[in-house]
Symmetry: D2
Subunit: 348 residues, 4 copies
Amino acid sequence: MKKPSRFLQTPIEPFAVDHGLTADEILSRMERISFQGRNLAIARRIWRKMLDDDVTIFLGMAGALSAGGLRLIVARLIADRYVDCLVSTGANLYHDLHETRGKHHYLGSAQADDAMLAQEGIDRVYDTFASEDEFIDNDSWIAEFAASLEPRPYTTREFLYLLGGHLWTTTERDGILTSAYRANVPIFCPAIADSSIGMGLSQARQKVPGTGYIDIIGDVVESANVIIRRPRTASVVLGGGTPKNFINQASVQAEFFSDDVSGHRYAVQIVTDVPHFGGASGSSLEEAQSWGKLATDSDRVSVQADATIALPLLVSALAEVDPHVLTRRRKPVLTLAYRIMTIDEQTI
Amino acid sequence: MKKPSRFLQTPIEPFAVDHGLTADEILSRMERISFQGRNLAIARRIWRKMLDDDVTIFLGMAGALSAGGLRLIVARLIADRYVDCLVSTGANLYHDLHETRGKHHYLGSAQADDAMLAQEGIDRVYDTFASEDEFIDNDSWIAEFAASLEPRPYTTREFLYLLGGHLWTTTERDGILTSAYRANVPIFCPAIADSSIGMGLSQARQKVPGTGYIDIIGDVVESANVIIRRPRTASVVLGGGTPKNFINQASVQAEFFSDDVSGHRYAVQIVTDVPHFGGASGSSLEEAQSWGKLATDSDRVSVQADATIALPLLVSALAEVDPHVLTRRRKPVLTLAYRIMTIDEQTI
Amino acid sequence: MKKPSRFLQTPIEPFAVDHGLTADEILSRMERISFQGRNLAIARRIWRKMLDDDVTIFLGMAGALSAGGLRLIVARLIADRYVDCLVSTGANLYHDLHETRGKHHYLGSAQADDAMLAQEGIDRVYDTFASEDEFIDNDSWIAEFAASLEPRPYTTREFLYLLGGHLWTTTERDGILTSAYRANVPIFCPAIADSSIGMGLSQARQKVPGTGYIDIIGDVVESANVIIRRPRTASVVLGGGTPKNFINQASVQAEFFSDDVSGHRYAVQIVTDVPHFGGASGSSLEEAQSWGKLATDSDRVSVQADATIALPLLVSALAEVDPHVLTRRRKPVLTLAYRIMTIDEQTI
Amino acid sequence: MKKPSRFLQTPIEPFAVDHGLTADEILSRMERISFQGRNLAIARRIWRKMLDDDVTIFLGMAGALSAGGLRLIVARLIADRYVDCLVSTGANLYHDLHETRGKHHYLGSAQADDAMLAQEGIDRVYDTFASEDEFIDNDSWIAEFAASLEPRPYTTREFLYLLGGHLWTTTERDGILTSAYRANVPIFCPAIADSSIGMGLSQARQKVPGTGYIDIIGDVVESANVIIRRPRTASVVLGGGTPKNFINQASVQAEFFSDDVSGHRYAVQIVTDVPHFGGASGSSLEEAQSWGKLATDSDRVSVQADATIALPLLVSALAEVDPHVLTRRRKPVLTLAYRIMTIDEQTI
């Protein structure tokens, strides 16, 4: 009889539907199917491994996740310290601020007549609507706050901590910015200029010359130092963009200064972009190894899926982990209230 | 005070993670978020509406869903009569038969060395492996069965019913073919020639001249008649391809013969292909209206997602519906054992 | 000084724009750039190699290429014998027949109101419109022709040859069907039932019982025999679908019967679908090797691009090859007028 | 006789292959086909209209276009003033600088073993390789230059002008940065921190405290003022990302301050991302209207294609326009050598 092939070891186990399956049970059964379903199940397994290990977990978020209804999932990940540091586009923080201030995004339609929407002052994000007037009000609110700060350059990390604090004091509502403020989780926003927060900052300068200065190169230094101080890291990326690259670049920059750094130990990315057009957003985690962004023996998985499907399922499953996992996690302790942040009591 | 815009009626409600959420609870919360998450939630809502209405539900399946671990979900949809008629690619039925015969597909890797796999007789479907020898054995098994039949043309509907029956008798195992046989759910396979079942049929003819004849134009006639006899229909499509078009074509063909037919009343599609390259697989449900494939007032939703993520979640949620919904469903009664099928006791 | 790396041998040469570049010059300069541009340039190089070699070239076409304005490119590839055998979806042949009969498709818009189009009898293919009445007229024309044939099963290869002949006699216009008829290039259409040609055939049977029989399993046998008789083959695939798989399956089936067959020697595919959802349309050419569909030492390239951009550029470049390349090509000689075809004077 | 439908006015004209077609002839014939081929042809038509009109043309570039061999096309667009202002990711400027400094990117393979590449110090961008040591040398070169500047904040526009000048003085080679310097075309780089240029700037600060300060909010102000001073604008976007949004945001911000601004008059985007996941990169030009980013009566087209195919063809076609079109173009006159730029002799 022929010896079974080394390539045929673990059979696919067809997904069995049962009544009342929870998120964790669903993803557990998806470990033995194929394609992106399996990859999403692996993402859950890797994230759980991160929580048990001694690693600083970076979360990157791009795409219209806040407007699209995922901001409280991210807030929860921050509050319960499933992650230790957020890198975000400006838009996600802006749309978070919008809702934390008590405004809303609305169910809309992708087939809407945009000329008519423009006339009525409605901004469209695919199938989601918002009021332009309310956005203009946010811009002023941000401008006013930024204009009230001592006129000097701020890293986005410092500025967003202060903004989150101001937002918390004003609203006492949960959201990404407020949760990060309360949990002392730093937020970096490398492309802050390319967002309505950037517009608000430019209006601050209009009001009070000398205000609205952002020191994004300071963010480059600080993010690298976070890794130098605590070289074991993990990366969870939603949607590519500047956050994905910034998290990787921090590791590469850190390696330039410290021999202890050798790329992220774990990497999960949930993306819709693809590798074959060469852009960074869709680039594979294998390619990231060639750059040293990722350790060559890292646990890693790339899930090709819209985050609005993948994240509710994945984080609902993570919410089923034993709470002790989170309490005994060796998470970094950060202080963010000053110009210079600290991690585990070391300045950065 | 400004009147609120008619475009801003229902706020997005950020997904709130809780401990132990079931599939149905997850999808229910996804109704108020955006993008494909919302669309998947709408798919659940529309499918539930179909179950309450008096419609014949077609299910189309393309892509490597059986090899990829979804065959028992489809079997379940058939057995519990969430659907009334299956249109499938040949490959999905073949890989189903493979596992029902006790063989397996295996967890593999998309980064495998294909030259080495070829050398070891391993066939790869993205991240999934199978034994070529076992596939050759299936081909012979199908050839032998087909060669044993009375040598005349068979519609795929009749042939697949007989094949399912033979498979059930031989194995008594659940699967798509066997469940469809037992539940009297017809299967059409318009591109059967383009699959290993087609290869098996061609080998039958090699063995016994005159066998292995398939009458696919008979399938065109029969599928249209199914709709003519019972003009209220719904379409659930996984992955585009020939099944998607065949289900629509049946409706268009039926309309040609009967004024009672005016397109599917409900349509759900879970696809990864996109509209803007013009192909039928990725075509929008709006476009389908222009052809009369879909009623212009139909409930419809297109979900851009890999079925290996979307289907386990969606069908797990459907499994939570009150069982009475299924028992009181006005599902068509079909007989398939003969050359001419009947629906609700009318011949076709 | 450090030795240069073996990985850094051939520099990228930035594309230099010049006045009046022809298609061939453009693709020649694209050989030294990256991503899909390079891949399209490689496609040109491989196709030219095929023309110099002694191989039977299969062309597969899926997607709405005929409706979309590419039918005369395909007709040209057939007439000048850049290819030897066509495998197509039914829709592409149907839309070709439509225009060869003197009707048109029309510039339309992807943002059209489909309910209004439905009302006016306009069928939409993304940004392209056509008249439903004219389509119904085609169906009748096909039905009438099919009903006039001797009532016996026809392979699609035989039926489409006869249809092409009838079309040529009636119209004397260039098109895919008529060019294939005149150049004795066989056309296989494994999913013919899933198209308006299939609908026409089913209407034939309505008119004249016993007509409209298609023997698609005969196509499986014949396509394999084409390869057995002449085992060196090449595959050019536009858009995945049943044609892609059928061309590969023919090789696998042929290998089952003949030791001389060992997969296509060359493979070019121009696709928009991606590998990571597991479907055959987007599957990689590397994966095809594991199945033996492709020789492991084959020249191959996969181009991720819409054929409506890639094909005009690629075939315009091919049209610049020295005409002697085509005349001295060792192309197979086929006869198609009978129930049994011949290749290089051998029956199949 | 039935009146012809208003929807059926302009027939599709199948692309006719001829010997020696130039880029412009190819795109001209593609105007009458469908899908993305037609869209690319429309892009050419719209760009030609822009050149005849009195508009400031913004070019956005994201994705690995410079590494991928398109930098001299962009340099040409700048030098010949097909465009007036560039918004780019940092990576594209960095990879341009790399080659302008005489280094190369190399033809590589997407199937490479990344662990082995990492070991040999090779960085991979899909199918393209580069030397990490050479990259590190660039970083130092940038750091040294930045450290030599007067220690004050610089907008990216000012810094990149100075960097381009230094590069030109050092190398006298054509490239994006040097061409922009010589043609007085401003470059904005809103996410400069998220790139190796950002890493070089952070190293400058390490060397000389007080250097490496970038004032990206100043860029927000300046880019809006460019539009306020000359409110008729056009947008050509390659690949989404921060450049796409920044160009749109500049218009929205400008509208906030000036009633003369009402969105871009023309918009062309060549993207591979899709709208249905809600991200800005793939968002439709229709959606942009709702935000006022685009005039509701703008000429616009979105082309779904890899820029490495679309751009060589499109710009080769544009290179065939009558040179007088470019000389008589009413292009803005800019001065960039100082902290405050001017446009048409007005300070900004």
